[in-house]
Symmetry: C2
Subunit: 201 residues, 2 copies
């Protein structure tokens, strides 16, 4: 990008271009927008960025994003603690919560098994899931990974691991179109897929 | 946006959505990207945002963005200081600089006359331009505002103001964009291209 903008502006543009989906043109638009924002709002923007990074960690129990040691879902005594829904990412937790169809707990793997990308079971938070199963009376594990190759492989792997422990393992129903992304599915489809889950035998 | 993300994350998403061209989905993608960035890079991002806002002001002479009192273009003794190109915004300066066709100075109006938006000549940096004409031996003012209604109105206004001072006032040429198709160009542009034809020598 040829530019004779002030150094501080060029640097801002380059940093904005590191964000996903931001090309040179949008980075320039955003940078100028930031320059034109009131000083207080710019300070707020910088602050929320730092705060988000500093304050947000992972729930010790379900590995979902959390500002506290135990997240608000795990900490909610009104939820069915005997059911655990296993998902790929915190975004999926949010998507399922939005359906209002589910009242159990979650477990976030933070990835899927993907030999192509050199991601094996040990790279996911599976041992924490086994620890939970060991420590608390879990009756059912719902595997809600995406219906992609990696999601299926992860589901199979988990089912093989957990079924022998005498726990019901179910898979989110195939109401989802194959090859889609869990987080982009509309809430009704996702809700149907949850309620129509099938036991993995 | 329904969300059970941690407060710090929701706040970050909302702030990112204030940026131009950023909807909820991209804000979420960006926010997660930021959460996954190394701590140092996040600190850098927050820092460049603050730095850009704090360090960048306007050149006293041409009102272009500048970290110094006088910008690097006005300060460059190799440039033709007798020619001033008047533009709407700092982005236009950058666009013209990228052509490598221009070696004079600039004057940034920071807007165009637009009665619809209640922007009159007094809202633009026109008095500073007149001060410059008064103080230095300027021979030509090139008006390079966009060929829009507002750009034209501003050009007319400036021409009427500056021509009586005995200074040559020119307007950037209208014509066909390079690489365009004659049949796809709108009639007004084509008409302007015809009437503004140049002798081939």
């Amino acid at each position: 990008m040829q530019s004779n903008y002030p150094v501080a502006l060029t640097r801002l543009i380059h940093h904005l271009m590191q964000l996903p989906g931001v090309g040179p043109k949008s980075a320039i638009r955003m940078a100028f927008h930031i320059l034109n924002m009131p000083e207080k709002n710019v300070a707020d923007l910088a602050d929320v960025i730092l705060k988000a990074k500093n304050d947000i960690g992972f729930c010790k129990n379900c590995i979902n994003l959390s500002e506290d040691e135990i997240c608000s879902i795990c900490d909610d005594y009104k939820r069915e603690s005997a059911i655990v829904c296993v998902v790929e990412s915190p975004r999926d937790v949010n998507a399922i919560e939005a359906t209002n169809e589910y009242n159990g707990l979650y477990h976030v793997l933070h990835g899927l098994i993907s030999p192509m990308d050199d991601i094996g079971p040990d790279d996911l938070h599976i041992s924490e899931l086994l620890d939970r199963i060991d420590a608390s009376p879990i009756k059912e594990v719902i595997i809600a990974t995406s219906p992609s190759i990696e999601g299926e492989a992860t589901a199979m792997f988990l089912a093989k691991l957990i079924r022998p422990l005498g726990i019901r393992v179910s898979r989110i129903a195939y109401g989802l179109p194959m090859g889609s992304d869990l987080e982009n599915v509309d809430e009704i489809t996702l809700g149907k897929a949850l309620s129509g889950r099938q036991e993995m035998l």
